[in-house]
């Protein structure tokens, strides 16, 4: 049962990484990176590491995505 869950999550993260590299809009790419981080946090939990899962979920999903969006906003603002 857990092995099936791990395989499904692996496929989801690989598809997300492919979208992050090959899409034309920057917003979609940033959200795909956040999705990959969140799936990695669940994978850490399946590998019996609760400390690492907590750290990756809070830092990788929330703070990294927020910093990327702040930069994008500043760039689009300066361009007019």
């Amino acid at each position: 049962m857990l092995i099936v869950l791990a395989i499904v999550l692996g496929v989801v993260s690989i598809v997300g990484a492919y979208f992050a590299v090959h899409s034309h809009k920057l917003t979609v790419a940033i959200m795909a990176t956040g999705l990959v981080s969140m799936v990695a946090a669940v994978l850490f939990l399946l590998l019996a590491a609760p400390d690492v899962a907590m750290t990756e979920a809070s830092i990788g999903s929330a703070l990294t995505t927020a910093i990327f969006f702040f930069t994008l906003n500043k760039i689009r603002q300066t361009n007019g």
Binding site: T33, A48, V52, T55
Partner: protein, 114 residues
């Protein structure tokens, strides 16, 4: 484990072949995430329990289960926080460079090429 390898290779490909600077930084993030998954997966013992030994952990330990290795987890903890710091630094550089030349294409910054 396979997921970690595939993420690493896709992240490295995206890092080397994109031209938009923000996508290069996204490639860095996916690459480091893949390597962290590989490192935690090395220390995994089959049917192991989490390395926290409070009262019910000790009784599971005396029943014959083993814990997973706690050393790679400590190293990955450090690595995730440093990855965030380096990403924030790179984005600060991108903001300043964009203010100077108004372009996000990395081929326009040719000042250091011979």
């Amino acid at each position: 484990m396979t997921t970690g390898f595939a993420l690493t290779i896709i992240g490295l490909y995206g890092l080397l072949s994109q031209k938009n600077m923000i996508k290069i930084i996204l490639g860095f993030t996916i690459f480091t995430t893949g390597i962290n998954i590989i490192m935690v997966a090395i220390g995994y013992v089959r049917n192991g329990i989490a390395p926290i030994l409070d009262a019910e952990g000790k009784e599971q330990l005396s029943n014959g289960a083993t814990i997973v290795d706690p050393l790679p987890q400590a190293l990955v903890l450090t690595s995730i926080v440093i990855g965030l710091g380096v990403t924030a630094l790179m984005l600060a550089y991108v903001m300043k460079l964009y203010q100077d030349k108004k372009s996000l294409n990395i081929n326009d910054y040719k000042d250091l090429k011979w």
